[in-house]
Symmetry: C2
Subunit: 141 residues, 2 copies
DNA sequence: TCATTTATGCAACTAAATTGCATTTGAATT
DNA sequence: AATTCAAATGCAATTTAGTTGCATAAATGA
């Protein structure tokens, strides 16, 4: 994806085009894993931490990113599927967390099996798998 | 559950019997929802924050409680099913978070559907449903 | 009841994330 | 291109969740 594409993407999500947003967007598009705030901060040290946090928030609000709560006390963030927009997120994919490399991936090809709970109304489902990812599995006999 | 039962429960989980542990255990046994650290702290203000945190940790280590990472940046804790012990957790039940009352419940009668991902090794699964709980649903037409 | 181990309380600290405010920048309009 | 105004940024300070070190107190087992 090139600059003009990012620009378009931001505009269609009601977001102003700024250097920081372009760079953050670019980072996410080049990462196959969900990224923590720290990952982002290390690579984009030229921007203030607060600006990066606010960029994440605006992206989440407008449906560009989704937040994956982590069990180590901090969250990770990943690109949304195209269905997400300014009017809420519509996620259905599974997240995988590797206990060896620590990476969190979205598995867009795996959708979450529906669970019906009588008398409850279910709006969203989030399934996080924990184990050993494809790459790490190859490196251990 | 009475004092002697809590005492027994602690002993079988290799934990010393202390006032704080009894009170924390009692709190969890009387709550139908998962509790955040804040919930606990409010009700058991007589104990130091650090002691409460350490109580939670020891309970998690010994298989009495499990931790449910929350999407607002803090975790909740709930009693484990009996299968959990000193040698790891064996959870299979679904968690439900109500967007109206904010409560998180364990749904012990609903187990997580198995998802197979080729080339990946899956060790744990966590499914969190988001929506409106039974009680809140009744109070809205 | 004594000795040993473990738990507690306090203070200080770390790390994640947020808020307020002055300044700068984006983009729509003239 | 210059003007304008809302929105984005950077900085400092603050909040909140959770942790660590250490002296004291309490629980267990002999």
């Amino acid at each position: 994806m090139k600059f003009s594409d990012y620009k378009k993407l931001l505009k269609t999500h009601e977001l102003r085009v700024t250097d920081c947003r372009i760079d953050v967007l670019d980072k996410f598009h080049h990462s196959s894993y969900a990224m923590s705030f720290k990952d982002l901060e290390e690579d984009l040290a030229e921007y203030d931490r607060v600006t990066l946090y606010r960029t994440l928030h605006s992206f989440i609000d407008k449906g560009l990113l989704h937040r994956i709560p982590g069990d180590e006390g901090f969250a990770s963030y990943a690109l949304c599927p195209q269905e997400c927009g300014n009017h809420g997120h519509h996620h259905d994919h599974v997240h995988f967390k590797c206990k060896l490399c620590g990476h969190i991936e979205c598995l867009p090809d795996f959708s979450i099996p529906k669970v019906e709970v009588p008398e409850y109304e279910i709006n969203e489902q989030s399934l996080v798998l924990n184990g050993v990812c494809k790459i790490c599995k190859k490196s251990i006999p």
